[in-house]
Amino acid sequence: MPGLFRIDGLKLAPETRLILALAGSVAALVARDFAALAVLIAASMVYLLLQLRVRTALWAYFFLSLLALSGLAGVWLMGFIFEAMRGDTFSLALLPFGRLGLTLNLVLPLALQTSLTGLAGTLNRLKLPGLLKLPLIVTLRFIPTFLSDFKQLREAVTLRFRGRGGLRFWLVRPVVWWRVIFLPLVVRLIRSADELAVASELKGLSAETDFGRAELTWSASDRGVMLAAVLTLVTAALLEAGHVAA
């Protein structure tokens, strides 16, 4: 997905996006007051639009809601929602969706951010245990290789089954799918795991290796965004406290 969209506009340190995404998911969980949630959503929307173009944001929203809704058997879902809404106020019914919107707004810039290489740099700065860092960096480097392996296998199957490699083929014949795609893929995976393990041991890599530390560039915009985020959170907390007291 990161390749589909581009991030323009405000440049922020990955750490800022990370902290905001975490704070957002906690706030979404805690918030019970509609006004508090509305303040948070409005602020997160501004944050999102500072970084993404409107069109990109709309596409991302469309793509994600399609992913979410396609599985939910729309009619069934609607039945649930309307049934639930009948006995309640409209704003109460909107709360779960509001929470989803809030986390989405804060998480999109993180998910669509910079390259995988940039992400590896962030991981180095985060001072994660080596036990986690080494597998994570290997994973990030390996995903493109795995996807190209998959593409090659799929092309081979398309040739072999005379063009029957389309969507219907996959859905109707899961067993064939398993045998001609998945098993070879796992074989390749195990081979690459063995090769990479030997290569990394020969290079002297281990969980204790320092992968180099990229400098953190904490700019004025980062500070500004963080300040705004703190102010928003305080406002929301006050509203929430008022709600609890009432």
Binding site: G71, A84, A93, L131, V138, F182, I190, A197, V198, S200
Partner: protein
């Protein structure tokens, strides 16, 4: 004791004083020394990446999250995890792999990290249980059991977490439960697929133990 045994995942050299007291847990948890070798960490990383990429590919090919793709991607996921546990049969492998997977989902897809600590605890508990049964070594069905149990725990945690989200509309929870059940059905299918695959891979000499 089991935690003494956990530290002895690595081969103890003859004559070396490797008592549980001399084992530096802080260092081990930070660097993995004494718990995992580099090759294990690399393998875990590759499998976590492959699981993430495979589920992503299936989700995109199936056009979103319809029931068929949901079952399929859960099956792929659990089969990969069984193969991983047979290839790296150490206590802690599943916990580490699940943690790496969750961190990856957080960085790449923005999934939540709030459930991560409880998920780690549940997986570790399952692994300690397996350890007390004698460990994964040479017993793929125990690996399958561990994956099945830890995924069950992760679904229960996920449903509890979702309840916090939609506590104003508990009726929505039924749907979350149905989706979780469906994907768990996929996980169970994948366990059998994984065991079968382990047999074939052993036959081909790609996994030795």
């Amino acid at each position: 004791m089991w935690f003494g045994g956990l530290a002895l995942n690595t081969k103890v050299q003859a004559g070396a004083a490797a008592t549980p007291q001399s084992f530096n847990w802080r260092n081990a948890l930070w660097t993995g020394r004494g718990l995992f070798e580099t090759r294990d960490l690399v393998t875990i990383g590759l499998f976590a990446g492959a699981a993430k990429a495979a589920t992503l590919v299936v989700a995109l090919m199936g056009g979103g999250m319809n029931p068929v793709t949901m079952v399929l991607k859960s099956a792929l996921f659990s089969a990969l995890w069984v193969v991983l546990l047979v290839k790296v049969p150490k206590t802690g492998t599943l916990t580490l792999a699940n943690t790496v997977g969750a961190l990856l989902a957080f960085f790449l897809m923005g999934q939540t990290m709030i459930t991560l600590p409880s998920l780690m605890a549940a997986t570790l508990l399952v692994e300690v249980g397996i350890r007390s049964l004698g460990g994964y070594q040479g017993r793929p069905w125990l690996a399958a059991l561990a994956v099945g149990l830890s995924e069950l725990a992760s679904r229960v945690i996920h449903i509890a977490y979702t309840y916090l989200w939609i506590r104003e509309q508990p009726a929505l929870l039924a749907m979350v439960a149905v989706i979780s059940l469906l994907s768990y059905f996929g996980i169970c299918l994948g366990l059998f697929g994984g065991l079968r695959m382990v047999r074939e891979l052993r036959h081909a000499g790609l996994i030795q133990n």
